[in-house]
């Protein structure tokens, strides 16, 4: 792999950029791999990357029915934070956040991780107590957060309306090293690194069946032929139930549409990420100048990657109140993605009833921030059979009643 650098760009400029090689190869599928990952989104690619990097497993194929990074990796609002309440969540999200810190250098691909700070507004007494609790929990989890005053909120976000009128800002949970990253670049950076390790990233390759023998996974059938494997990772957010159905088991997941929108780009006026859970909306400003806005999920299941407009209305209304200046901006584009939501709104990283098959699913509305941690943990689980980071996220926890419920800490999509 030719390394990227300012010098490489300068060198290529002299020959009109004719010398750049492909970021990732486009191979034909082989007959057999040690590991097949279904789904070349952020989580799938990250899993493959850490299988190679941490465990030396490189005979890996990552199969993607569409274009890599085209699911929720390329549709989210790019927020990265780890100020979660429950220990297992804080562990994996903080692992992810810390890996984001060095991802550009690790991958030699600028994913533009921008630790500009994430704040979650407290707008009721109840929310204050909830976030204070999170701050206490985070202090024992090694996650750096603090509860800040309304005045500090206003200093950090001059365009915010802290006086209400409906819900005055009473404080906020502030994670200074939370932020955003360029979502597509995360997928591209991992794909390039995986390809460089000799792995096959195979796009337009749709899995149509999972083959098992005696309860053990043997391989998959695809629209590009049959491929064998020793281990299979199903990492297909928005389609998990469809995939596990192929393997003959069901998961406690519902798939619903989550929407987001951007405004037209304006000059920078907000440097941090703000989440307002009481009124249901969150917003940040991208490096391109667009206000990136997200809200809640639809109340019904679907796979169309479109959502109901009333959610857009509710979100925009909430943010017009919170940031009055945006009333005179215009919505440039709205879109939707399908998120897999579990019974406790926490993910599943788990072995399955099929030996050799693993799933990484159910990240709900907050998967992007977890990508590197999720990949790191999933790779360990697949390589070694267990990982302290995935221990609590087994698919059997629902049967045991051992939930990891974050709803107390975040009542809104994120």
């Amino acid at each position: 792999m030719k390394r990227y650098s300012v010098f490489a760009v300068a060198r290529e400029a002299l020959r009109y950029h004719t010398g750049w090689e492909r970021a990732w190869r486009s191979p034909e599928p082989k007959k057999k791999y040690d590991v097949i990952i279904v789904g070349a989104g952020g989580h799938g690619l990250a899993t493959a990357y850490y299988l190679g990097k941490n465990f030396g497993i490189t005979n890996v194929a990552i199969l993607e029915k569409g274009w890599l990074g085209g699911g929720n990796t390329g549709r989210n609002t790019t927020i990265i934070r780890s100020n979660y309440l429950q220990d297992p969540s804080a562990a994996i999200y903080e692992k992810a956040r810390s890996l984001y810190e060095t991802m550009s250098q690790d991958l030699n691909y600028n994913v533009m991780f921008s630790p500009r700070g994430v704040m979650m507004l407290a707008q009721t007494q109840h929310e204050i107590r909830g976030y204070q609790r999170t701050a206490h929990a985070n202090s024992l989890q090694g996650v750096k957060t603090e509860f800040i005053t309304p005045q500090r909120v206003k200093e950090l976000v001059p365009i915010i309306n802290i006086d209400g009128p409906r819900y005055p800002v009473l404080g906020a949970l502030w994670q200074a090293r939370g932020g955003t990253a360029r979502h597509d670049a995360v997928a591209w950076g991992y794909a390039r690194a995986c390809s460089d390790m000799g792995m096959d990233v195979i796009q337009k390759c749709e899995v149509t069946a999972i083959r098992t023998e005696g309860g053990k996974v043997k391989g998959v059938d695809t629209n590009r032929g049959s491929i064998d494997c020793d281990k299979l990772g199903g990492i297909v957010a928005g389609n998990t139930s469809v995939l596990t159905e192929m393997a003959g088991f069901r998961v406690p997941i519902e798939s619903v549409a989550l929407q987001a929108l951007v405004s037209e780009p304006i000059k920078p006026c907000m440097d941090v990420v703000v989440m307002a859970n009481t009124v249901h909306g969150y917003m940040s400003q991208s490096d391109k100048g667009e206000m990136v806005i997200g809200g809640g999920t639809d109340g019904f299941n679907n796979y169309t990657q479109r959502g109901s407009f009333h959610h857009i209305e509710e979100t925009v209304r909430a943010l017009n109140e919170t940031f009055p200046i945006i009333s005179r901006l215009k919505m440039l584009r709205q879109w939707g993605g399908i998120v897999d939501v579990t019974g406790d709104r926490s993910p599943i990283l788990s072995k399955t009833p099929v030996e050799g098959m693993f799933i990484n699913a159910g990240w709900g509305t907050g998967g992007f921030k977890a990508i590197p941690g999720s990949g790191w943990a999933m790779a360990e689980l697949m390589a070694k059979g267990h990982s302290p980071l995935t221990e609590e996220f087994s698919m059997w926890r629902f049967g045991e009643g051992k939930f990891i419920d974050e709803s107390v800490a975040a009542g809104v999509a994120h």
Binding site: A13, Y16, W20, G74, D287, K288
Partner: protein, 1003 residues
């Protein structure tokens, strides 16, 4: 230079001059001008700067597809960035400034980027700015952010208002060109409800500009007649300045009406968002002309051929004295002819085709215009405006044959139907090879709930470029829509259209065909985002082969025009680079809105006090007048405490607790949810909803109940009173009323639909006052009426009667541990009853109290609070509330879940009381660490605080918390986090701190 012509301009009223300002310069236009036509009339060719390289940008189009000419419009509370000049109607006093430059539009320091363009190709930022690591946050990103964005951020609150409309229609026609008008007329004649929208303020679309004839008369006349007819029909809703913004599932359509943008001083809402349910939708949205990709095609003065024609015909504005036309189709010849007819010079028409130009070419030649076939533009000369073009062979590599001096270039690469609205909800496209365009595939239309197609494209939007075919298609689509909407189409033929014959287009995606890199990196695809042919080719080379990857890597089509001009050209370049057919590459996803719509309009009326209106109890006014410090609870505001002069909030709370315990307190409890559950199966139903047995409750009695979800977690609590055999009144928490009502309905409607139970939310029908304290009975006795003695109404009983002349329902329940009556009166009597209690209570030391006092008193008594002791992860057993779980019942919601292994685990954290050793108050949310770290390096924990207060009754901090094996560890001392890295020691004690035996409340 661009200027106003002495003749022409069918849309401008030269009798009405209008003054406006651009970058501080005073300029003149006419009524009927757009800001674009007015700027051009004032020779303002340079109007902005591009996003990345800060290249000079001029107006390139004449409608909503304009990518370049965006301005900051207005001032103060009416300031709006990124306003397209081509869709901004001119008004007197209009104030605009150009965007994205420093220090000025003419001299922009950022333009230095254009000299480094070679070093800044698509995606350069992914390959650099990585070292040293902290530099991204502190150096690179701040620098990049500074150059981000186009317009300025508004500074003031929006001074305009907005509104929403609901609208239902059988047939919705979007687009007021001749196709839309013909379709609307046809559909309207069936008698169905028909709605037609036109995004501009003038009807007729292109046909009226291009001189088509309909039914033997000029299109303009036909359009006027048709609009008049439609306006006169009762079943027709017709709106100009209204855009079809988005098509959603089930025929939901957004319309965006701009009411006062063109007359900002007029009263009333600025924008109106139409939320429409349409049975059938016809998109008659026309087509957009494509630019051609040649070097220097972004220089101000290079314009779409049809736009140039629009400016001449509609607004009487010429872009230049000498215009070179460059094309690959016949339509652009109309521009040449229109220019010559207007007395302007067209030195040459450069036609990339080697042959095939039709009668329009003959007509052009007949007017003396030189036509060069098989030629292309090698390069446009000029910087901030066009100075000339260099001509080459289209089939060659750009060797210059000749240079022609000119000050404008009209380009046409063919037409792309506007398929956005067709595509929003899943309509698919096919590639029309002959016309070189994507058009709607009628066999794959968006489908509704029964699989029926509900969107049809008509006219040019459906790939018909000729007038006759447009009208025939429009009428045919309208007939089909009428049928599909359940109507009967009227018999009759389409109006007959005629226009000039046209020769076939020959697709040209790059000019010249063999352009070398030096030309390709000057050939713009996306004018706003500075994406060039070479960028898309680079993306393909680097493996960004999916059209979505190429878009995201190069930012092609991600600008404010969302690729209306650039997308097809870009994907053709990509297809060529990948050596695959265009349909194989496909398009990116079309997403709403068609053009950007204001956030204000999306929010609608719901702003300020109308944003989630505050619910008020009948006593709210009294609270406001008497020092209430409010806190939001659900959609209510409840008094946190009533602060007297000279007091702090804390002082007030302490006083309220002490007084209620000693004398008499009043709480406005009206916000508590009151659900009436009625029917023969009501008892059976409540047995399922609550963990307790409710069916055995006797009329006249009350029972405290717990409600769990299917996962066994506690979600609400409250007192249930049985009113009669069939009727229960269930109290819920304040925040829970609507949620629990919906929860009950969910079960009744989806699972137990055959049970005979109705639920209604009567929360607002009653005002409820808790009369609390040792003097509670005395004040009620003084008011007189029903017997409130212990014998008449014992603890956990209720009774209807009169108190002080008020019809009242009295509950003997207590959330404070004191003698307590909760009294409900009709809401209309609430304030009077409150006043009566205050007056009568004066001699007994009455004081109202707020929610914090309520919290402290219940915590002193060890009562749980939903949302404090519970957080969605707590089961009743964790709170030692087995006593509230009926053992006799076969089932209740959550029962099975609570039997799961972890729910029954002895390791669960359980509720205990906590007393700090030093008497201080444990901070809210504190956790109790346990020795050691877990496998993920986190500190082990053994419990957490759920409620923590200073108790004025005990004079010390008290708390409740969930602690690992807590009830087995009475007397143990554990530490809690203080939040500053230090810890506070607390002893595990019983959770009831006050009146353990209930002697106070049961008197």
């Amino acid at each position: 230079m661009s200027t106003r012509l002495s003749n022409g301009g069918r849309l401008v009223n030269k009798a009405k001059p209008v003054e406006f300002q651009f970058n501080g310069k005073r300029m003149k236009g006419y009524e009927g001008d757009t800001l674009a036509s007015a700027l051009l009339a004032n020779d303002q060719m340079l109007v902005g700067r591009s996003f990345k390289y800060h290249r000079p940008r001029g107006i390139v189009a004449s409608g909503g597809e304009e990518p370049n000419a965006l301005v900051n419009l207005g001032q103060g509370g009416k300031f709006e960035p990124n306003q397209r000049v081509t869709t901004t109607e001119l008004f007197d006093g209009l104030y605009a400034t150009s965007q994205n430059h420093w220090p000025s539009l003419e001299f922009d320091v950022g333009a230095i980027n254009t000299h480094f363009a070679r070093f800044l190709p698509a995606g350069f930022y992914y390959k650099m700015f990585m070292f040293p690591r902290p530099f991204w946050k502190h150096v690179y990103e701040p620098f990049i952010r500074q150059s981000a964005g186009l317009g300025k951020a508004p500074k003031e609150r929006d001074s305009d208002t907005y509104e929403h409309f609901y609208h239902f229609t059988d047939v919705l026609v979007i687009g007021g060109g001749i196709a839309g008008l013909a379709a609307a007329l046809e559909a309207a004649q069936s008698g169905l409800k028909v709605t037609i929208f036109e995004q501009t303020h003038h009807w007729g679309g292109r046909a009226v500009v291009d001189g088509a004839e309909i039914d033997g008369k000029p299109a303009d006349d036909w359009v006027k007649d048709t609009v008049q007819t439609l306006e006169g029909m009762e079943n027709v809703t017709i709106r100009a300045r209204t855009m079809g913004a988005g098509v959603y599932d089930h025929g939901y359509v957004l319309g965006y009406e701009r009411l006062t943008d063109h007359c900002p001083d007029q009263d009333g809402p600025r924008h109106r968002l139409w939320r429409i349910r349409a049975t059938q939708i016809i998109t008659a949205t026309g087509a957009i002309e494509r630019p051609l990709s040649f070097a220097g095609n972004d220089i101000p003065g290079v314009m779409l051929a049809a736009a140039l024609r629009d400016y001449v015909v509609n607004w009487g504005v010429s872009i230049g004295d000498r215009t070179v036309v460059v094309t690959n189709n016949d339509d652009a010849y109309r521009t040449a002819i229109a220019l010559v007819d207007a007395g302007l010079s067209v030195p040459a028409i450069i036609d990339a085709r080697t042959d095939g130009a039709g009668p329009l070419a003959d007509a052009a030649r007949a007017k003396g215009i030189r036509v060069e076939m098989g030629k292309g533009i090698a390069k446009v000369k000029g910087g901030k405006r066009v100075e000339g073009v260099a001509i080459c062979l289209q089939a060659g590599e750009g060797a210059v044959i000749e240079e022609i001096k000119c000050d404008a270039v009209a380009m046409s690469g063919g037409w792309s139907p506007v398929v956005h609205l067709w595509s929003h909800c899943g309509g698919k496209l096919i590639w029309d090879e002959a016309q070189a365009m994507f058009r709607p595939d009628p066999s794959r239309a968006p489908t509704g709930d029964k699989g029926q197609p509900f969107v049809a494209a008509a006219g040019t939007a459906n790939g018909n470029l000729r007038t006759a075919a447009v009208l025939e298609d429009a009428v045919a689509q309208a007939k089909a829509a009428v049928k599909a909407a359940g109507g009967k189409p009227k018999a009759g033929k389409a109006p007959a259209g005629s226009d000039a014959e046209e020769g076939a287009i020959s697709p040209v995606w790059l000019m010249p065909q063999g352009a070398p890199i030096q030309l390709r990196m000057k050939s713009w695809l996306d004018f706003q985002n500075d994406v060039k042919v070479s960028d898309v080719q680079l993306a393909a080379r680097e493996g960004f082969e999916s059209v979505e990857h190429a878009k995201r890597y190069t930012t092609l089509g991600m600008a404010t025009d969302q690729g209306k001009l650039s997308n097809i050209n870009g994907l053709a370049i990509l297809s060529d680079a990948l050596d695959q057919a265009i349909p194989q590459t496909g398009t990116t996803t079309f997403r709403p809105p068609y053009t950007p719509i204001s956030m204000g309009a999306i929010g609608g009326e719901a702003r300020d006090e109308l944003f989630q209106p505050i619910r008020k109890t009948p006593m709210h006014g009294w609270h406001e007048a008497n020092g209430a410090d409010f806190e939001p609870v659900g959609h209510w505001r409840r008094p946190y405490a009533f602060v007297r002069s000279g007091e702090s909030v804390h002082d007030a709370v302490m006083r309220e607790v002490k007084n209620t315990r000693r004398n008499l307190g009043l709480l406005d409890a009206s916000t508590l949810g009151k659900l009436i559950v009625k029917g023969p199966d009501a008892g059976k139903f409540l047995d399922m909803m609550y963990t307790n047995m409710m069916s055995t409750l006797k009329p006249g009695k009350c029972r405290y109940g717990l409600m769990c979800n299917e996962n066994g977690f506690l979600i609400d609590d409250g007192v249930v009173a049985r009113i009669d055999e069939d009727t229960f009144l269930c109290h819920t928490t304040t925040g829970g009323a609507e949620r629990i009502h919906a929860w009950m309905e969910d079960w009744l409607q989806c699972e137990w639909w055959d049970w005979k139970v109705y639920v209604t939310n009567a929360t607002e029908q009653f005002a409820q006052v808790a009369v609390v304290g040792p003097n509670a009975r005395k004040v009620l006795e003084k008011l007189g009426g029903m017997d409130v003695s212990k014998e008449s109404i014992a603890f956990m009983e209720w009774k209807d009667g009169q108190i002080g002349g008020f019809n009242a329902r009295v509950y003997r329940i207590s959330f404070s541990g004191e003698l307590s009556y909760e009294i409900a009166v009709p809401a209309s009597q609430g304030r009077a009853f409150w006043d009566a209690l205050l007056a009568a209570g004066e001699e007994f030391g009455v004081m109202p109290y707020g929610t914090e006092c309520l919290h402290i008193m219940r915590a002193e008594k060890g009562f749980i609070m939903i949302g404090d002791e519970t957080d969605g992860t707590v089961i009743p057993q964790d709170l030692n509330m087995e006593w509230a779980i009926s053992k006799k019942k076969e089932d209740y919601l959550g029962k099975r879940a609570q039997e799961r292994s972890y729910m029954a685990s002895p390791d669960r954290w359980k509720l205990v009381g906590l007393e700090t050793l030093d008497g201080s108050v444990i901070p809210d949310g504190a956790y109790a660490p346990a020795p050691g770290d877990n496998a993920n390096g986190q500190r082990n924990v053994q419990g957490r605080v759920t409620s923590t207060y200073f108790s004025p009754t005990l004079g010390r901090g008290i708390a409740m918390g969930l602690v690992h094996k807590g009830p087995d560890r009475m007397g143990d001392v554990i530490e809690f986090t203080k939040g500053d890295g230090t810890f506070v020691k607390a002893k595990i004690v019983d959770q009831v701190f006050y009146d353990k035996d209930g002697e106070k409340q049961n008197v």
